[in-house]
Structures are given as C-alpha cells and as structure tokens.
C-alpha cells in the first residue's frame, strides 16, 4: 500500500484534472442553511474538505431515493408495447471525495444485500462498480460518533479506495486499491510520501480513536437467542416517544429497504423504486390487510433488531450499524441507538 504526499495547495488543481475523467461527488453546503448533503460537483467546482458531517448519508449516490428501473410503452401500435425494459443509465466513472470511512464501510454492508450469489441488483451493482471512494479520515470525531464500538472507526479502510489523512498543510493519501491508484493518476498525484508518513498516519489515527468517548457494548448480541430479545419487555418503553417518521432510516447509511411503484402518464409507463422505511405503517403490509408489524412498538423493534441482531446472525459481518451517529442527531424525539444497543446487550431475561 503506497503512501502519497499531497500539498493542499495542489489539491484543487488535482481535483480539476480528475474531473476530466470522473464525475465528482462531495459534501455540498446548502445555500440557505447550515447543512451539508452529498451532491455532484459541476465542472470547476472543488470538493468541500471542511470535514462537515452530512445530514443524510452518501448512500443516495449509489442508491437514489427514487430510482427508475424499467419502462414500457402502452401504445399498442408499437411492436414492443407493454414490454418492460431497463431504463438506460450512464454509469461513467465517478468518485466520492471526502466521504467518511465508516460510510464507505456501510456501503460494503449494503453490498451484501444487493450483490449476492443468488441475485445481483443491476442498478446497485453498476453504480457501485463505477464508483471510487476517496475517504477522508476523521481527525476530530463528533460526540455522537461511536464508530469504534461498531466494528468500524474514523480511519476504517473497509471498501475504501484511497484514504486521505489530513496532516496540517498536506494530505497523506494511502492508496488501497487499483481503483484508487487509477484515480490518483488521473488527479496527477504521485509524489511519494517520506518514510515518516506511515508513523504520522498511525499517530493521527490513534489520536482520533482516543477522542471517541461514546462506548457501546455489542459483545453479547451474537450469542443471544433471537426470541429472548424479541420478547424482551423493554420495547414498549423505547418506542413510546417514537412518532414513526422515516428520519432514522432515511439518514442511515445502511438502511436498504425499498418499495416498488408503477406510474403511467399518457402512453408511457415507468417502474421505479423509492426508499421505504420500517417505521411506516405501509411497510410489510400484506395484500390481505394483515401487517405483521402493525403496531408502533413492533416497527421500532424491527429496526433495532435488524440492525443489531438479524443482520449479525445472517451475515456474520458484525452489526448493520457503523456508528455514524446520524440517527442520534436527527431523531426528533431523541431515540438514541447507543442507548438501545446497550439495553439489548446488557439485558438479563427474567426466568
């Protein structure tokens, strides 16, 4: 793994060079609000590297909230009428700049769902394959960051193509994959870092991890019986304040549920998918009218059990939460997953 030295003064030029080959995404500040969201950059626009946490996770770059899947003509005079075909979409090379390392890890967890031996979601897979992740290590994690408790961290390299480390007036870039190498070549960054950089990087990383004060226990979750947690008495209390909005699931970097809708206009028909949320009353509502998760408490339990237990059991890849803290920050009624996780982890069933 090669370490490259990038002078911050040369950073913008490099990004402009990279833009000739890649569509760049980075956090973009809202023009009227103190709020950042990931978005594509126009030509000549440079990525914002001020380390702003985004309200929404960057998952929408690969998995848009509304995504066209298939379309068809309903005009009987057309030879292929009523035959649904994939909507053509350009998946040219794109790079996400300044993404948090745990957000990249989150995408690798989503990949477990969308890219399997049995089934391959073409929309996700094509977009994921086309994307290079240039992550920026988090030197000063916020107080809601609990990524180190959730098997990730502010310098996690899982799924990352290049890890940038902010070292005062320069970046140390750790090239992890060939995709990352290709991007750095396109950007023209090739000055090898001096040998001490490795130690500097390790120090910055250790310092950052030390700053994370939020500690969450997950050690007992794996060994527990599903029903023991499912039937535990604490869910009603956790769910009381919940208003069943979709905020937690929509800001979450690993929530992957979606709902498929058809719409027609004139003789054109489109099938597309929208993010769904286990908080919504329509979620898993059966055609018969029955809903196995008809009550608020059941929906809240579903979210936490999926993140912290079902996923763990099914994939053996840790929890489905990477500890980014977005839901903690955005929940209108302050349901705090750190608290819930600790309750689940420390639960002692009454016999």
């Amino acid at each position: 793994m090669k370490l490259i030295h990038i002078d911050k003064k040369e950073w913008n030029q490099g990004m402009e060079r990279a833009q000739k080959e890649y569509l760049l995404f980075s956090p973009v500040k809202d023009k009227d609000k103190e709020q950042y969201l990931f978005g594509p950059l126009a030509h000549g626009e440079v990525p914002d590297m001020t380390h702003a946490d985004t309200v929404l996770s960057p998952k929408s770059i690969i998995f848009p909230q509304t995504e066209k899947m298939l379309h068809a003509s309903l005009d009987p005079s057309q030879p292929d009428h009523h035959i649904m075909k994939r909507v053509p979409e350009e998946y040219g090379p794109r790079a996400v700049i300044g993404i948090r390392p745990y957000d990249v890890k989150a995408l690798t967890l989503m990949n477990l769902n969308f890219d399997t031996d049995d089934y391959r979601d073409p929309y996700w897979c094509d977009a994921y394959k086309a994307t290079t992740f240039i992550a920026l290590g988090v030197n000063s994690p916020s107080s809601v960051d609990f990524s180190t408790s959730m098997g990730s961290g502010p310098f996690d390299e899982t799924g990352v193509d290049v890890l940038l480390v902010d070292n005062q007036d320069s970046y140390i870039a750790k090239i992890i994959t060939d995709k990352g190498q290709a991007f750095m070549e396109a950007a023209g960054f090739n000055a090898e870092a001096d040998p001490s950089a490795r130690e500097t990087l390790d120090n910055i990383k250790a310092n950052a991890e030390k700053k994370i004060t939020a500690k969450v226990g997950t050690d007992t979750l794996r060994g527990r019986e599903i029903l023991e947690l499912y039937e535990a008495p604490f869910w009603d209390e956790i769910a009381f304040s919940c208003i069943n909005c979709g905020t937690c699931t929509f800001v979450c970097p690993t929530c992957w549920c979606f709902d498929i809708q058809d719409e027609t206009k004139g003789k054109a028909c489109t099938r597309f998918r929208n993010w769904d949320s286990c908080m919504f009353p329509l979620f898993t509502l059966h055609g018969s009218g029955h809903n196995p998760r008809g009550e608020k408490t059941q929906r809240v339990r579903q979210r936490f059990m999926h993140k912290l237990k079902y996923f763990l059991d099914k994939y053996d890849q840790g929890t489905m939460c990477v500890g980014c803290g977005r839901c903690v920050e955005s929940c209108p009624v302050n349901i705090d997953i750190r608290e819930v996780c600790n309750i689940m982890n420390n639960y002692e069933p009454q016999k």
């Binding site: 107080s143 979709g246 709902d259 302050n334």
Partner: protein, 315 residues
C-alpha cells in the same frame, strides 16, 4: 435542578401515588444537549426523570390521541390548544385528562443556536433567560429571547387555555404588532416568485413525514399519501408530488393549526414547513375571526356553515 422541573416531578409523583391518573406524559432529558424526549411515567418513581426546559418543543397532545387511560399531561399554551382541538374532534374526552398547565416563555430554536455558535455543541446550561452554551470553540453566553423559535416569538397564547392545575404562575402574554408579516411578504410576490419560493422551500424534503407525524392534528388512520386505491399522490421524489403532500397536509390543518411548530421542530432537513400552514392561519383569522383551540364549545370554521361566511369567491 430548576424550580419548575422540581415542581413538575412533585406534581407527577403525587398524582401517580394517589392513583388519580394511570399515567403522566411529559418530557425527559435527551442524550444530547438541546434535546428532550417525550416521556411516559406510569409509576411514581419514574416521575423523577421528568424535566422542563426551553427545548421541550414538541407537542405532547400528539401522544394522547385515542388513548383510553386516565392521563395527566403537561401542557404549554400551544399543547393546551391542541388538547381543546382533540376534545372538539372527539379524540379524547375531557374527563380522561388531568391537564397540568405550564405557562411558557417560549422555546429555543436549536438550529439558530447551532448557527450562532458554530462548531459542535457539547453542553448547554439554562438559568432564567441566560443560556450558557459550551462548544468546541469554548463557552458563550446567549440571551434566550434572541433565539426563540419563530412561532414562539409571535405567540400570543403562552398561557394554557385549559388546565386543572398550574405548574407555575401565569405569564404575561405578548402583544405582537404584525403577527403575519412573514405571510404578507409572500402575498406581495408575483405568482412566479411565489411558486419559486415554495419550490425552493421543499427542495430538500425527503418525505420522511416527520412533520406529519409530529403534528397532533395528523391522526388519520391512513394518511392520503399512504392510500393506494385510489392513489392520490405519487410516492417518489417528484417535486410536484412532494408539493402536493405539503399543500394537502396543510389544507387538512386549515382552521385547526395552533402554530405549535412541532412540524418544524421535527424536520430533519430544516425546512420551514409552517410557511404552508401560516397562510391558512392568517386566512382563518381574517375571514372567520378564528384562532384554533381556544374553546371546547366551538367548532372550527371549515366544519360549520354560517350564512355570514365569506363567499365572494363564488360567482
């Protein structure tokens, strides 16, 4: 611990101990600075978790809809007006409620504080009107009254309009010269600018429905956006569909909205959703002399017919 919180715990604990109510609904402290959490206490020892501060922005009436138990509820002016709505709309009966009025000095706009301080806020201490905010940039002192939420700054019903007892003495009501200056500013615009204003307003909407679900008025068993046969509105991120959701939700609140601001407090995307309902509140006042939730004996204007109702729009 501040006096009001102490009083609230005492009242709640006594009510539960004496078996006068089955449950008390109030606020507990959140896990982050400037947050609070709607909280249910069913036993008197749980009452010690109740708090009251300037971040109890949500509307607790949202939590009593359709409940069968005898409930004690802490209510600010706006919450109490929504209790009145609930009684008028038969969502709960007056006998089921023990309302503890909490005269309100206005709630603080968390986002305004974030903007003023910059950096991450690590703590906030409140003493009277003085807010001491600790952040990564050190401590700053702010005057609470400069950071009130919009709806609190123009509120003329800080005292509860219906209550069984009070947790604190009544406060002086504000007089506001032009309560609807914001709406009037939009009314002056050209149609094309109005449309642009509302398009821009909702550009970040993610349809999480936090505004709807935090609203005590939105208690329909199935909301029109969730209906599928017929499907009234598309469910994707099409701007017209998003617009339709906000427009129709607002209209369902016409003559019922108390401008409590729970919708805005809940919005994760910092959208000024009250821009829709504010216009209807202004119309209700100007056309019908109506403010919602003041009287359990009166029905809202769009629910009744009166020969004097304005009808200039019909030709």
């Amino acid at each position: 611990m501040d006096q009001l919180t102490e009083k609230i715990r005492e009242l709640a604990s006594t009510l539960l101990k004496d078996g006068k109510v089955d449950m008390v609904i109030g606020f507990a402290d959140g896990t982050l600075p400037m947050t609070s959490r709607p909280f249910l206490a069913t036993e008197s020892d749980k009452a010690a978790q109740l708090v009251w501060n300037s971040f109890c922005s949500l509307n607790l009436t949202n939590y009593i809809t359709g409940r069968k138990e005898k409930i004690a509820l802490f209510a600010k002016g706006c919450d109490s007006r929504n209790v009145v709505n609930h009684i008028v709309e038969n969502k709960i009966s007056r006998d089921q409620l023990h309302i503890i009025g909490v005269p309100c000095q206005g709630m603080v706009d968390k986002k305004a504080i974030l903007k003023a301080v910059g950096g991450e806020i690590t703590g906030l201490c409140e003493e009277g009107d003085k807010l001491t905010v600790s952040s990564s940039h050190g401590d700053v002192e702010l005057n609470k009254n400069d950071y009130l939420r919009d709806n609190c700054a123009t509120c003329t019903h800080r005292n509860p309009v219906i209550y069984d007892e009070l947790a604190a003495p009544l406060v002086e009501e504000q007089t506001v010269e032009e309560p609807f200056a914001d709406v009037a500013a939009i009314e002056k615009m050209e149609p094309v600018d109005k449309a642009r204003y509302f398009d821009n307003l909702i550009k970040d909407c993610i349809r999480c429905y936090a505004c709807r679900n935090a609203c005590p008025l939105c208690y329909c068993p199935t909301c029109f956006v969730d209906e599928s046969g017929p499907q009234w509105v598309g469910k994707g991120q099409n701007p017209t569909d998003i617009q339709t959701f906000h427009f129709l939700r607002a209209f369902h609140c016409a003559g019922r909205c108390t401008d409590c601001g729970a919708c805005e407090a809940a919005c994760p995307m910092d959208i000024h959703v009250r821009a829709f309902t504010r216009k209807l509140n202004k119309d209700a006042l100007e056309l019908f002399g109506w403010e919602a939730g003041l009287d359990t004996e009166k029905r809202p204007p769009l629910d009744t017919f009166n020969p004097d109702d304005p009808d200039e729009f019909i030709r």
